[in-house]
Amino acid sequence: MPAKEPVAVVGVGQTKHVAARRDVSIAGLVREAARRALDDAALDWADIDAVVIGKAPDFFEGVMMPELYLADALGAVGKPLLRVHTAGSVGGSTALVAAGLVAARVHRTVLTLAFEKQSESNAMWGLSLPVPFQQPLLAGAGGFFAPHVRAYIRRSGAPGTVGSLVAYKDRRNALRNPYAHLHEHGITLEKVQSSPMLWDPIRYSETCPSSDGACAMVLADRAGASRAPYPPAWVHGGAMRSEPTLFAGKDFVSPQAGKDCAADVYRQAGITDPRREIDAVEMYVPFSWYEPMWLENLGFAAEGEGWKLTESGVTELGGDLPVNPSGGVLSTNPIGASGMIRFAEAVLQVRDRAGAHQVAGARKALGHAYGGGSQFFSMWLVGAGPPET
């Protein structure tokens, strides 16, 4: 018996992500994703041993500890129910905590879910709370990240148009994903490039929307995988890393914690050349420029070279290394769920169940999330076949 139980993803469920789901409560929203994941796995509530749930800060809905009241909706009564919180990366770390429970043989079948109902609050407000004695300055996440984008452009010498190429690609990919929030049918590169500048150098069309949505997965051991009606995805590696938000020597353009996290995942998965061995990537790109930045941070390109992959079309759906075939965070952003959607979309790719945004023949895919002030990282690598033990 291997030291760890191999972990399979046997079910995936998402809501149709939209600006406001006024027809459902938070409970109704998470229920919808969970039910779809169970259906995908041909399981029912009684088959689940434990539930692991994640969401971003409580300020985003103003419900303190929402997991307490969501136990009924998630069939968690009489079972362990854990909540994970690592800011924007939480969807990823939630899935990894769930995977750990199966790998450690604590539980055999675990439901993991992440959500955000952004319409109930205002994230820009929630992220810019004034603190006494400090000068109120910060204008939301865009204001926080835009200077780092400028630093990347300066450091890499990337042409100013690269960000718009990412946004144009991801919005077109989203048109192939029925669950994506933004479906901009008339999108053109010119429209992206002429959209208003919000936090120069970040334009409106290069930012993520504010979404209501939930994503769920069912994770199982080998026995569970063998009973699954559809091919499972297998977890080949998963890791989390964190570092302080601000410290002398922090590299916001390519944080050390991100590099270390990716290196750990590749080591577990036996990946030595991610650019060649990985078939699809779902990475957390809330502002378009983060695609080239993360391509470097995750080892797909040398430092200062990430933008060349984007510019040359490598990251397009038909390219050599498709990035965010689902449309990514740029097209769908229920913050707490966004990381799990990356993980789940990587799963759909290797299960050959991504539909119109399927990357042909994808065998290995990376799901990536980050959160806070580039301080939390979580990633997993999933494969179509079981990991070598």
Partner: protein, 385 residues
């Protein structure tokens, strides 16, 4: 462990304090069950749900706590009930249901199996007891919210049922009220064919078939099926939340703030890595050791990176566009964040040399402006972005 400052700070620095209020009008999408419940309150109707196990839950939930299945089986319960437990609140706070002292109560409404949390208007704790009969006092203006129930009020002579108009259906003495109240709930359960064991049988005589003609007011006590359909249903509510804090910034920040009051900018040097932190946090986040050595930095510095903010934040009173910049003050090992002015926003650049601009009575530099020096070379600040 000694944390005596190496220099500068007095032994007992003045620690500033300030109120910090966090408040937001959160919105709630209700979903079908809560929508029916709150719309019902508007119509002076209290709805619960019946679970697969036959229990009637008030307030209603969307999913069965036992089977996890969706519940759509709405029932109407009475507007009078029995206190199952309580706590006296001698000092009501802002936003609580009553301004005068009151009891928090769990009320099991007639026909329900669970307690609804609300306020009971009573003259004092001596007037409250577990088992007492109470009824809803409806708010004058109702819009579909839990506050449509203004509070509960004593109804010691009230039998199960009725409640809101009260008085007309009393019978018997006070001694059997408690028993009657309990029995009504159980009897209702039996009537629905989902009864739990252990219900006292002596309530049998009070059971009323709600469908029978002339069943009268007490019929309301039985949990009758209800479609949950109302005209103009409430689908969302605004739930204002407010947190009141007293904020104290801590010793390191206080030293920094007190120095700013004298128009000095001070950092703290890590005794291990020797990096200078501005503003100081009292500890080095990389080395994990306390910092105490005070180091004067600036006042001049270099813009290492920035963005131009064109979008006005809800809670910021700054005209747009403005430049939000990272500024590495001379002598500091990481940038602080500040606004740049005194130069057209589109002429701000990386490497620009700046200095603070103080205003009368300001707690910190209002902004930074160009010094007129030549721009700093990229290599001098590339590690300080």
């Amino acid at each position: 462990m000694s944390a005596t400052p190496a220099s500068g700070a007095p032994s007992a620095p003045e620690v500033p304090r300030a109120p910090l209020v966090v408040e937001f009008p959160f919105t709630r999408s209700l979903g079908p069950v809560q929508s029916a419940f709150l719309t019902g309150l508007r119509e002076r109707t209290v709805l619960g749900v019946r679970t697969a196990g036959g229990r009637v839950l008030v307030p209603p939930v969307e999913y069965d706590p036992e089977t996890s299945e969706e519940i759509g089986d709405l029932v109407q319960v009475g507007t009078a009930g029995t206190v199952t437990t309580w706590a006296w609140n001698p000092d009501p706070r802002r936003g609580q249901p009553l301004r005068t002292p009151f009891a928090w109560v769990l009320v099991r409404l007639d026909g329900a199996d669970t307690g609804l949390l609300h306020a009971l208007d009573a003259p004092g704790p001596d007037a409250v007891r577990t088992g007492m009969r109470v009824r809803v006092r409806w708010a004058q203006d109702r819009g579909g919210a839990i506050t449509d129930i203004a509070c509960f009020e004593p109804y010691e002579n009230g039998d199960e049922g009725g409640g809101e108009s009260g008085g007309g259906n009393r019978e018997g003495g006070g001694g059997n009220r408690h028993t009657a109240g309990h029995a009504a709930g159980h009897a209702a359960g039996h009537a629905a064919g989902h009864g739990k064991a252990g219900g006292p049988a002596n309530g049998e005589g009070r059971r009323v078939d709600p469908a029978a003609p002339g069943a009268g007011r007490r019929a309301a006590a039985g949990p009758r099926p209800h479609s949950g359909a109302f005209d103009d249903p409430v689908t969302g509510v605004v739930a204002p939340a407010r947190l009141d804090y007293t904020y104290t910034p801590g010793r390191a920040q206080s030293r920094f703030i007190n120095a700013l009051a004298e128009r000095r900018i001070t950092g703290e040097r890590c005794p291990s890595c020797r990096k200078v932190y501005v503003p100081p946090r009292g500890a080095c986040p990389t080395c994990g050791v306390a910092t105490s050595e005070q180091v004067g930095v600036g006042p001049r510095g270099t813009v290492t990176t920035f963005c131009i903010v064109n979008i006005k934040a809800k809670n910021l009173d700054i005209e747009v566009p403005y430049v939000y910049a990272h500024i590495a003050l001379d002598g500091a090992d990481l940038p602080l964040h500040a606004r740049i002015a005194g130069i057209p926003y589109d002429r701000v650049r990386m490497g620009l040399r700046v200095e603070p601009v103080w205003t009368q009575g300001g707690r910190h530099p209002d902004h930074y402006r160009p010094t007129g020096e030549p721009d700093a070379d990229y290599d001098t600040y590339r590690e300080l972005l």
